[in-house]
Amino acid sequence: MILADTMDIGYPSLALGYALLIIPLGLMLWHRIPIVGRTLIAVARMTVQLLFVGLYLQFVFQLNSPWLNAAWLVVMLVVADFSIVRGCGLRLGRFLAPVLAGLFVGTIVPLLFFLGLILRQPNLLEAQYAIPIAGMILGNCLRADIVGLGSFYESIRKSEKAYLHSLAQGARLNEAVRPFYRDAVTAALAPTVATIATIGLVALPGMMTGVILGGADPMTAIKYQIAIMIAILAGTAITVVLGIWLTTRQTFTAYGTLDHAIFKKVKPRGTRGTRGR
């Protein structure tokens, strides 16, 4: 049931919306909270990024070409891939391909399930559905993968003696990494599970808000939200499990030790801002 069209916000009214910034900025200045500059930059970035995406999406939606939509999905996947590997402090070379493979399967499988089986879309790559739903799944996969991959490799590095001890006791590679793998997948999925458990009580989720603002009946919004939460949980689980599993094939030596060349070299403390090398 469609209740009403969404009311547009005029540009002068949006400009007025920025006036609300006076309150947080005023509080920061008053209490000398040192994030005024960062806040202004963040707001400026948000404005530019969203305007750009808005214009681009308008174009994509008007054309609604399956090829262009697919190409946009690929761009989203590749951008997410780079930010995951960078976000984990790992070297790009060995991680980009396996992480992308995990992201691809983790996003595409629940997306097609959602569009094809739940919404029964005749055109699977219909921009109006495919792009926002893929974006929601992918955004969550990105966050989960940074936690999962990052904590997996970091915890093996930190507990390397215990890891080597298990190798010395006869563990095969998959047996030796298992406790680290379990902890990493738990850490990656726990926020999604917690969100699912408290949804509706703590916060009205973004998608539901969007569907309601879009003029739909709240019950329709809830059905969308339930389906998307399950799609997100499936997507994050696939992405993290595949991401770790596929990367372990290239991150351990033939003797089973962790190859430390996978970590980006961190500048020693005290050298920040100095030039050279």
């Binding site: 507990s159 390397e160 003696k161 215990a162 080597l164 001890h165 298990s166 190798l167 010395a168 006791q169 006869g170 563990a171 095969r172 047996e175 406790p179 030596t253 033939a254 003797y255 089973g256 030790t257 430390h260």
Partner: protein
Amino acid sequence: MDDHAAIKIDALTVAFGGRAVLGGFSLRLGVGEKATLTGRSGSGKTTVLRCILGFVVPDGGAIHIDGEALTPRSVWHLREKLAYVAQEPELGDGTVRDVLERPFAYHANAGLRDNLARVDEFFGEFLLPRSLLADDVTTLSGGEKQRVAIVSAVLLDRRIILLDEASSALDKASGKAIADFFRSRGDLTVLSVSHNPAGLSFSGQLIELPGGYDGEEPEVLE
């Protein structure tokens, strides 16, 4: 090929970051022999043990265990013959009982599970109170961890034991208990590393490594 050597090392060369740590080290240890590596800090004592376990890949030379060359392929089943007791062992988390049971979940050790019935016997032998089994392993002292690691090695039926400064954290009575145990076990080959070889009275040979420097041993992982 020397079938009678438990450990045979030929011309082992290792360098870390351009600094030579071992320059052509060789050793032959027959089955049941006990030897101690000694030398100054940085002379590569621990590195020898780590090479035997495949944790450090040498730049040159060869290692044979029970007559079989150590390679990326063989290292996995050769480790099933070895046990490593570190100076400050990190045994993972959980209780002491968890730590002792964990390796039996590995496929390679599945057939040895019955040995767990002998925990009490070995705890007595190494002067460890039975109540320790329920304690969190991270709360143990260095000497207790070392003895738990040795018990674990014996339960896993390992015949080649690599001891890294294993006497360093032990009191006199525990040190003697360990020495008595190894002396009584003619089937066990023990290669130990020690700053203070006098503490390892069961050891038959003393091998001094050249090089190194005076002072504290740096943490060398790779």
